[in-house]
Symmetry: C2
Subunit: 338 residues, 2 copies
């Protein structure tokens, strides 16, 4: 595409090709054709459905300009893998587009790619393709992840039924507190919280397709995301704030941060609706992957989310989650798209 800078005429090749070769080609898998063609080609796993998701991250919005380059790459990948985990899918590979400001040099991207390489090994996936462009604005990263799932077994948000228990994996609020720690607003003596903000842990491989009746990942605030699940399922939900699992690092900050933990983003834990008769199976599957699961509430008739404190009283929340749009595109509409 045109309007970019002209190539340097000294070798007949734009420098972007050398950059891509050095930085990104080592990440490419078999189907990516070494990133030498216009597209990647691969054979989908026989008898499986495909699962695809895309997320973008913008410098200054989803990560801090001075976050380590390797964690930026890994966070981007892990946020997308978390979307696959929410559907109980197995990852296959990913595509990446990078819109680069002049201030980010190749050394930064080498670190970024090293982070991706690390996580590719950890999660058993490879880069399938992508694109690099320049931008005069902040760094923008967009990643599309592909995975697969047994036909009809993908977890959905819309399947929660009255009587189901509500469960979460791991601990809630670490990401939100980690952002505050990175901004110097709360203490984080051992860097645990900052680490949780910078490196989500996608809860892949729990094999919950036949166990949970609904599932999603918690990325924009637990209460808000639970509201999405309730709305899509046509039910209400009760959340017991005192049962929400908190890490020792968050507990050490004091109870005044609880509301923030319930509405902060960047958890990347799974929220699950599980019928009582499946609770033992849930705990067995989670233990197999060394993932903690905690019951935090229940699905009820009606609509909306009630958040109850330890005395069973409705807990006031100044906000329930996060939005990512500029003011011009926002309004008072209460459409239920999640």
């Amino acid at each position: 595409m045109a309007m970019g800078r002209e190539e340097r005429p000294d070798n007949g090749l734009p420098a972007e090709f050398g950059f891509i070769a050095r930085v990104f080609r080592p990440l490419a898998g078999e189907g990516a054709l070494d990133l030498r063609d216009d597209a990647a080609v691969f054979t989908p796993p026989a008898g499986r459905q495909l699962v695809v998701a895309a997320d973008a991250m913008v410098e200054g919005v989803h990560f801090l300009p001075d976050d380590p380059a390797d964690t930026v790459g890994r966070k981007l990948l892990r946020c997308n893998l978390s979307d696959l985990a929410a559907m109980d899918a197995t990852p296959l590979g990913y595509l990446l587009t990078v819109s680069m400001p002049p201030a980010r040099d190749e050394a930064w991207f080498a670190g970024f790619a090293a982070g991706l390489a690390h996580d590719q090994r950890q999660f058993g996936i490879t880069l399938l393709g992508g694109d690099t462009t320049s931008t005069s604005g902040p760094l923008v990263l967009s990643l599309t992840v592909l995975g697969h799932v047994a036909p009809g077994m993908a977890l959905r948000r819309c399947g929660a039924r009255v009587g189901d228990g509500l469960w979460v994996t791991g601990t809630i609020g670490d990401g939100a507190m980690g952002l505050l720690a990175r901004q110097g607003k709360v203490a984080d003596p051992d860097g645990f919280l900052a680490g949780r903000y910078q490196l989500p842990r996608p809860r892949l491989g729990l094999a919950l397709g036949g166990i949970a009746s609904a599932g999603m990942d918690v990325s924009d605030g637990l209460v808000q995301d639970l509201g999405h699940m309730a709305r899509e399922s046509g039910v209400g939900a009760v959340l017991h704030a005192g049962q929400v699992p908190l890490s020792p690092a968050v507990r050490a900050l004091g109870p005044q941060w609880l509301a923030r933990c319930l509405s902060g983003g960047d958890d990347y834990e799974l929220l699950l609706a599980v019928p009582p008769e499946q609770e033992a199976a849930l705990q067995r599957h989670a233990a197999r992957r060394d993932v903690s699961v905690t019951r935090i509430g229940q699905v009820v008739a009606g609509c909306g989310v009630r958040v109850l404190d330890e005395n069973g009283q409705d807990m006031p929340l100044a906000r329930r989650g996060w939005s990512h749009l500029p003011e011009g595109a926002r309004d008072q509409d209460s459409s239920d798209l999640s």
Copy 2:
């Protein structure tokens, strides 16, 4: 993800959900689950390989800030469809991430989506998923397209053989001249050139898998892209500048623009290497889709691209194509990644 703006507390839902519902949900296909879940789920066509590609477009780099919103959406989609056409693949669907500056309001995105809706109908595809974020910089759009192809039949860049003829579809240089026309640098009385810059025509459906020995789409300049094909195939190429098909609108601008047409971007035509015995089949397949094809040179032993003028003399070219990276990430390396 956090660090975005907080939701408006008045209705318990971030305004982005209403925006997405109004603007993007009408584009969603069956597998997209109405964009209500974390990912899309679909069953890949039986017995086919999948083909995936991703391209990003940045305001001020790949399109002009005042380009009509509908053509920006359509150009983004068509650039990606052109990558599928280059592999002889059939499109299935796409994912889209949008990083929005505050200055673009919902009316702009309504136009953007209307363009996508138009082209979805034209090309028989739907939106599978995506993400919207805010950015303080220019608008960044990233699109991943999925398609399918018969096993082993995807066209590659690396298959050109000595003796093949080199062919292109359509006409070359309209996009580059269209950009100049949009910038007021050349005349474009009927808007044909600007239209070609704003709306590429992906050459899908030519069914060239068994006919061409190599193929790619011309997006970054014909001479440079031919260089990629030659390098990947381990051959040289001779290009007869006088045989390169030009539109009447480009011819009317005068011969001084020829070099620019050979090195300008935004053609989105196919470059094909075709053995002599397949030329009749090529012409038959192209005629079936009402696409012109023109022989512009031949594959030769050796390496590099020679561009010959009408007298058979080497034609000097100030540049061969375009690069899209900021200065920091560029260098003198001549790696052969395309």
